[in-house]
């Protein structure tokens, strides 16, 4: 489907077909808010259940209590979430309104008018001035710049902070600015989509701006909504996409809400309780009907009619349904939402997770999934910018077979290179020229005269900087003319074409004309395998391959530089093809790649650059700690295999020989890959019994085959392997891997920093974005954004773990307290003729669930079972969360039993102590309720691990509040419990009864807990005791700080022992047809085998099943 945009044509039908520029992010309107919001809320099962219960309560024949006791909380809860939605929507409305009301200059009937942004129609010509925000997607037709360029800040769109250049299409070049508003034509463009990197369209101008050619348009010719115009006086453009159909508007979407494992478990338990409730209702309903027919008819004072209505049999079961409806606490949803909100806030507030370099705090975008952090089993991490700083520094190079920078580790200080530059060695000069020119960097002259480079890629930036330091300074770029200063001379180059970088091509080239000698040259740079095969026949590329290998062993990023001189007519011939390819609408990218390929051959390789990307602080420690915590790491990178392995070694990702073993899956054909996979699987299954750290390495090509043809075998491998390195993978493969692990029922966390990680981050159970140098794209898509990789440790071990523990307690406690009161009601029904009488009055029932028992437990959001330091020292303790040891059917059974026991205690004691002449119903009810409140205060106390002042306030304050509230209610003459509470508080027997309930209810629980705590302690208990003893908690598993710098470990390996690195270690793979390398065989390493056993996947799996 295409859309035809008629430029500046007020009568054209396009104005009607396409929407105007009114932006609307609102979910609701004033009219549909109530029905739509209610519909959304009632699409959840829990809410439907509550609504059903509330509706049943309107039937006075069956309701045990005032319907208000359910309607009140229900309406309250609905009102809270509705007002939250309304508030959010109102804010969206305000920001929309601001954008819609903004005034812009638009051409109407040939006259420039100042209109509101929302009145822009497709085809209108819009004028913008410097620093204006772009109101809709425009195709440029004119700028103030004589070269037809303008500069754009796209931070709001993709998070990249550098300026981007945009150019007017060639057809509009040279049109006088006075004539621009009279321009007519048609733009043929695709229907709106959300790809902000692609715009494949054509432009044709109508007379008098006659232009025979259809002029191709790319994303370079557009300026997109929400960008800002910078460093350009004015631009004008044609609106092509407006309103919600802009690229930004299309890409805006509400992501699927993520459900935590814990929520799923809570839902499951709720379901179980629901079933239990139904069973109770059926049993009691039958018993009630039987009792009614056999006994109740004899009790004349009940006056049962002989003939009841048709629904008579249903009445008693329905009464019990209503009595038991509180088994599923209505407050749990509100409490959980509140707690989750606080967890997220704690992450935002955490001072220890602020990146001090940028002052950027951590942020939880998704407030609902903090518990999942504590249950992570697999972490899939990107390499560049996530493990490393993404701060590229040019370190070494190899020019024409000569290695520079090997001694000092810094080529810029290598005297030989400096000499070569000074002496004007042609190889070196060519090399530097490619470094300086072959890029898309924009130099910006700052006020002080220094040159700043605005680069989209950190590698290019590093290369240009390095060239500048080697006296090849890229001074300015005006239009197509590049100015280079080499020593004292100034050189000019005219850029003819840019063959852009794509991840498929893995290289980029520029075609420039050397203005000094008018020669046309092609300059290329790219990955070695994308350049070296295309070198001219006869050129020795072995040294280059070796250099690449050597640098990669050191974990450096390598780029291969090459050039070729073009003949004038060769270029012109090709240029036509290129232009044609550029204006295709279908498969443009592929066509261009094909055309580019025709030029990029017979290259002359110049040399290899090696760029260092330093590891971030604390990465090895973080990975080591998290691996001890039983979390498996997979590294997914687009980088080269060797680089990836070296980085993996240096950050504790894999352990070197002999403790660790790397298994390589490779092969170019299906057959090879499958054989290789089988072998690896065999090795894996044998070595899992040994305390050995086995990891497999797979590259993108093999992965493609594996995922396509051997998915099952690969899944088996994924389950066996704790560590994996996947190199040269594409963004979609990253996402596929996440999906694979998720399909095996693992909790996955994906961490990345760049746009290529976005899909993986969105796919994973938890997405963590590093707000780094590659922009904020990943951080925006993520559930959590952190400044540095090392904060992951704190995020998981502290925030994730505490969140899990707290929610586990809160949810089970919520069920406990609801079951407690429900069991009492059930017991009471046995002494009230199974007729479904409620012992408690409406006020008490409502306040019990919503108020008395909700406040104290909310402060468990501050509870800490172990101090942060202890957890960091014993990360293994995370296992309890991972395996779901604190919230599962068996712990829940414990709480269920406790509520049953407490209900028995409260009921038996209340009815016996308040028997005979004291058996007045309101009094007995209040005695039982007081017993429940006291018990729950002590249960919270017993289950709380650390008391802050807030906990004391909430627990004991709540107890006081219970009495105050009941005294107030007791003072109202019209209330059912008038004077009851005063009467009770004056009776010694009341207090004696309450204390008896507390002692009888809590004594056994205290004893049991003490017994378990002392004689069957869990690891958590042991650590708690150790903490209590004070002093340093030393354990063998402590992580000593290990300064493992990249240089120290790697340099001897790769340079002093060049022979060793190809030594073969293949105890099981001796029949391997492919030479299998063991990596890092020369370096002796120690490894903590203690952990490899405990947390080997089989172990954790077994425990999980327990």
């Amino acid at each position: 489907m295409k859309r035809f945009v008629y430029i500046n044509d007020d009568e054209s039908p396009t104005q009607e077909i396409y929407c105007d520029n009114r932006i609307s992010n609102r979910k609701y309107t004033l009219l549909n808010f109530l029905p739509k919001n209610l519909w959304e809320q009632f699409s959840r099962f829990m809410n439907q259940y509550f609504l059903l219960i509330a509706c049943l309560q309107l039937w006075s024949l069956i309701t045990p209590v005032n319907p208000a006791s359910t309607w009140g909380p229900l309406i309250f809860i609905f009102a809270v979430s509705a007002s939250k939605e309304a508030w959010d929507d109102y804010n969206r409305y305000l920001s929309d309104k601001k954008a819609n009301d903004k005034e812009v200059w638009v051409v109407r009937q040939g006259i420039k008018k100042h209109l509101q942004a929302q009145d822009i129609h497709v085809g209108n010509i819009v004028w913008l001035r410097e620093n204006d925000e772009v109101p809709c997607d425009l195709v440029l037709i004119g700028t103030s710049d004589p070269q037809g360029l303008c500069y754009l800040e796209t931070a709001a769109l993709d998070g990249e902070t550098d300026l981007k250049t945009r150019a007017i299409p060639s057809a509009c070049m040279g049109i006088d600015s006075d004539l621009l508003h009279k321009i007519k034509g048609v733009i043929e463009c695709p229907n709106p989509d959300k790809d902000i990197r692609r715009f494949d369209a054509n432009l044709r101008l109508f007379p008098p701006f006659i232009d025979n050619d259809v002029c191709p348009l790319t994303i370079k010719n557009t300026i997109l909504q929400s960008c800002y115009l910078r460093n350009t006086e004015w631009v004008c453009g044609v609106a092509v996409y407006t309103g919600n159909e802009t690229k930004l508007g299309m890409s805006r979407g509400i992501p699927e809400p993520k459900l935590t494992a814990m929520d799923a478990m809570i839902d499951k338990l709720t379901g179980a309780i629901f079933v239990f409730q139904i069973v109770v209702v059926i049993v009691l309903g039958i018993a009630g009907n039987v009792w009614k027919d056999t006994e109740a008819r004899k009790h004349w004072y009940v006056l049962y009619p002989n003939e009841g209505p048709w629904y008579e049999l249903l009445v008693i079961p329905l009464r019990f349904e209503l009595l038991c409806s509180i088994m599923i606490p209505i407050s749990i949803k509100v409490s959980l939402d509140l707690m989750k909100g606080l967890y997220a806030k704690f992450i935002d507030w955490d001072a220890e997770m602020i990146d001090h370099e940028t002052g950027c705090p951590s942020h939880a975008t998704n407030t609902a999934i903090s518990e999942d952090l504590g249950q992570v089993e697999y972490i899939l991490t990107d390499k560049t910018g996530t493990l490393t700083e993404n701060k590229m520094v040019f370190r070494r190079c190899c020019i024409n077979g000569i290695f520079y920078g090997n001694e000092s580790g810094n080529a810029l200080k290598d005297a030989r290179l400096l000499n070569a530059v000074a002496s004007g060695s042609p190889d070196v000069i060519q090399f530097l020229t490619v470094m300086a020119i072959c890029n898309t960097v924009i130099p910006v002259q700052s006020k002080t005269g220094a040159i700043l480079y605005k680069a989209q890629s950190q590698d290019e930036d590093a290369l240009v900087q390095a060239a500048a330091k080697l006296h090849m300074v890229f001074v300015s770029k005006s239009g197509n003319i590049l100015e280079i200063r080499y020593n004292a001379s100034v050189l000019h180059y005219e850029v003819l074409e840019i063959l852009e970088f794509t991840s498929e091509r893995k290289r980029m080239s520029v075609v420039v004309r050397d203005c000094q000698n008018r020669k046309i040259i092609l300059l290329s740079k790219g990955a070695d395998e994308a350049i070296l095969p295309y070198t001219a026949a006869g050129q020795q590329t072995r040294t280059f391959s070796e250099a690449v290998e050597q640098y990669a062993q050191m974990g450096l990023r390598t780029l291969c530089l090459a050039w070729r001189e073009l003949k004038e007519d060769e270029y012109h011939e090709w240029s036509l093809m290129f232009r044609e390819a550029s204006s295709t609408l279908v498969d443009r990218e592929w066509r261009i790649a094909e055309v580019c390929q025709r030029l990029e051959h017979d290259l002359e390789a110049l040399g290899i650059t090696a760029i260092e990307d330093r590891l971030q602080d604390g990465v090895p420690e973080t990975i080591e700690t998290l691996r001890k915590a039983g979390i498996n790491f997979w590294m997914l990178t687009g980088d080269k295999q060797n680089t990836a392995i070296q980085i993996a070694l240096s950050c504790n990702f894999i352990s070197p020989e002999p403790k660790g073993q790397l298994l390589l899956i490779d092969g170019k054909t299906e057959d090879e890959v499958s054989r290789s996979l089988e072998r690896v699987l065999l090795t894996m299954s044998i070595t899992t019994s040994e305390p050995k750290d086995v990891a497999f390495v797979v590259d993108g090509w093999a992965l493609e085959i594996l995922l396509k043809h051997y998915r099952k075998a690969f899944t088996d491998l994924a389950i066996l392997s704790r560590t994996a390195i996947c190199c040269r993978v594409t963004p979609s493969q990253k996402a596929q891997l996440v999906e694979l692990l998720k399909s095996c029922d693992y909790r996955t966390l994906a961490v990345g920093d760049g746009g290529n990680d976005v899909r993986m981050i969105q796919q994973a159970d938890i997405g963590v974005g590093i707000s780094g140098r590659e922009g904020l794209q990943a951080a925006r898509a993520a559930d959590y954004s952190i400044g540095k990789f090392r904060f992951l440790k704190r995020l998981i071990l502290v925030h994730g773990r505490y969140s899990y523990n707290r929610t586990a307690f809160l949810s089970q406690y919520s069920f406990y307290k609801s079951l407690l009161i429900c069991f009492i009601q059930i017991f009471f029904s046995f002494i009230s003729g199974v007729s479904g009488t409620s012992l408690f009055n409406s006020v008490s029932l409502m306040a019990y669930n919503v108020f008395y028992t909700s406040i104290p437990v909310l402060v468990s959001v501050l509870d800490k079972d172990l101090s942060e330091e202890t957890v960091m020292q014993h990360p293994q303790i995370l296992f309890y969360c991972q395996a779901g040891r604190l919230l599962n059917p068996s712990t829940f059974a414990g709480w269920f039993g406790r509520s049953l026991f407490h209900a028995i205690v409260v009921f038996i004691i209340s009815i016996n102590a308040y028997a005979y002449e004291k058996s007045e119903m309101e009094e007995v009810a209040m005695v039982a309720l007081s017993g429940c409140i006291w018990l729950q205060a002590f249960v919270v106390t017993l289950e709380t691990n650390s008391f802050t002042i807030l906990q004391h306030l909430a627990i004991w304050g709540n107890l006081i509040a219970f009495y105050v509230i009941n005294w107030i209610v007791s003072a109202i003459p019209s209330s059912g419990m008038y004077t009851i509470m005063f009467r009770l508080c004056g009776q010694p027997s009341y207090w004696i009864t309450v204390f008896l309930i507390v002692a009888a209810g809590m004594g056994p629980i205290l004893a049991l807990k003490y017994f378990r705590y002392t004689y069957r302690p869990s690891k958590i208990n042991t650590l708690q005791q150790a903490e209590r003893l004070g002093g340093p908690i030393l354990s063998l598993g402590n992580i000593e700080p290990q300064p493992r710098s990249l240089e120290k470990e790697v340099s001897p390996l790769s340079i002093t022992q060049p022979k060793n690195r190809s030594s073969v270690y293949e105890p099981l793979l001796s029949d391997s047809p492919n030479a299998r390398r063991s990596f890092g065989s020369g370096t002796p390493f120690d490894f903590f085998q203690s952990q490899s056993r405990l947390s080997s996947s089989s172990y954790s799996r077994n425990c999980k099943d327990n």
Binding site: Y301, F828, G833, S835, A913, Y914, L1006, T1022, G1037
Partner: protein, 349 residues
């Protein structure tokens, strides 16, 4: 309860002390945000648990003894009369006896006072197997009507006894309709014992729950007569038997006050009770008892609390002794991190 006062965590020492002056609130807030509020982390140490249980025992047993003593000090005479008051010829069919209005319902019981009973002595009637807490029954009343009388029209809650012959019933509902109507007169020796039947209902009920100007209307006029009748000339606020009856009981076996004897009863006094056995408990096998009882600071005679206290107290002591023995015989290494499995494995391998 298990707050161990001495044990403040390492957190509190790490956190800078809270300044007392104006910054206090701010410091508190920042500590809250960093989750580093000074906290006390109690741990269940053997000493502490054993001491708590011992203390519990030593507090509970004396209280139990005192309570039991108070309960035992209450003297009561319980006389079940429902079966014995049925004439011989109706023994086989008690229900027909009670429904037969022609049969005289008076009955005489002789009670012997075993010990000296000090005034005030309370007279209760006790009903067993009587479900005042039945769902149909307990809801069948209108508090508004009891207070406002005929001015309050909505008596739908009183079903099925809300109106009769198209006229509303005051007081409406099953509870009032089934009012207990046995009466007792007590004779000691030759003189009648004065029974004070005033002030037996709660004052709050008389003043605020039952109208002073609400008179019974159209009450027990239906074809089906339930329990007692009310004097239509006495306002509900003064009908104390009704007020007492309307305080429904939570248990199927309950006592309700009938009156007070305000003179002491000597040991070996013989009391003759003339009673009108009007109330029908025969059809459902309910029992009727007459209870004459003194009172203590705990109320009537009820050994449950005392026994339960002694039981709980002694269990606590036994438990603490068991724990003490366990602790001495089998001391556990306390908080020894070497027992953590990951460390154990580290040692072995």
């Amino acid at each position: 309860m298990d707050v161990d006062g001495g044990s403040t965590s390492s957190d509190s020492t790490r956190v800078r002390s809270i300044p007392i002056h104006s910054g206090q609130c701010k410091a508190f807030l920042s500590q809250f945000k960093q989750q580093s509020l000074p906290a006390c982390k109690p741990v269940l140490t053997p000493a502490w648990v054993i001491a708590t249980l011992l203390l519990l025992g030593f507090v509970f047993i004396p209280i139990g003894l005192v309570t039991l003593h108070a309960s035992r000090g209450v003297l009561e005479i319980v006389d079940r009369y429902d079966a014995d008051c049925v004439p011989e010829e109706f023994k086989g069919n008690k229900a027909s006896y009670i429904k037969d209005t022609s049969v005289p319902k008076n009955c005489t019981r002789i009670l012997k006072v075993h010990k000296y009973m000090k005034a005030p002595i309370y007279i209760y009637y006790q009903l067993d197997n009587y479900y005042q807490n039945h769902r149909r029954y307990v809801k069948s009343r209108s508090d508004q009507q009891l207070l406002h009388g005929l001015k309050y029209n909505d008596t739908s809650s009183c079903k099925p006894e809300e109106s009769n012959n198209g006229l509303p019933v005051v007081p409406c509902g099953l509870i009032a309709w089934s009012l207990f109507n046995d009466t007792y007169t007590f004779i000691r020796g030759t003189a009648e014992l004065r029974v004070n039947r005033k002030n037996i209902a709660w004052k709050s009920d008389r003043d605020h729950k039952f109208g002073k100007h609400v008179y019974p209307f159209n009450f027990q006029n239906g074809t089906l007569i339930g329990g007692g009748k009310l004097d239509p000339n006495i306002p509900l606020g003064d009908q104390e038997d009704l007020i007492v009856w309307m305080r429904t009981s939570a248990l199927p076996s309950f006592r309700k006050i009938y009156g007070r004897i305000e003179e002491d009863l000597e040991a070996d006094d013989v009391i003759v009770v003339h009673l009108m056995n009007n109330y029908n408990t025969y059809s459902f096998g309910g029992k009727k008892k007459l209870v004459i009882s003194t009172s203590s600071w705990l109320g009537g005679r009820n050994d449950f609390l005392g026994v339960a206290y002694i039981f709980v107290g002694s269990s606590a002591i036994i438990l603490s002794l068991v724990f003490l023995l366990l602790h001495v015989k089998n001391p556990r290494p306390y908080g020894d991190t070497a027992y953590l499995s990951w460390n154990r494995k580290g040692i072995s391998s």
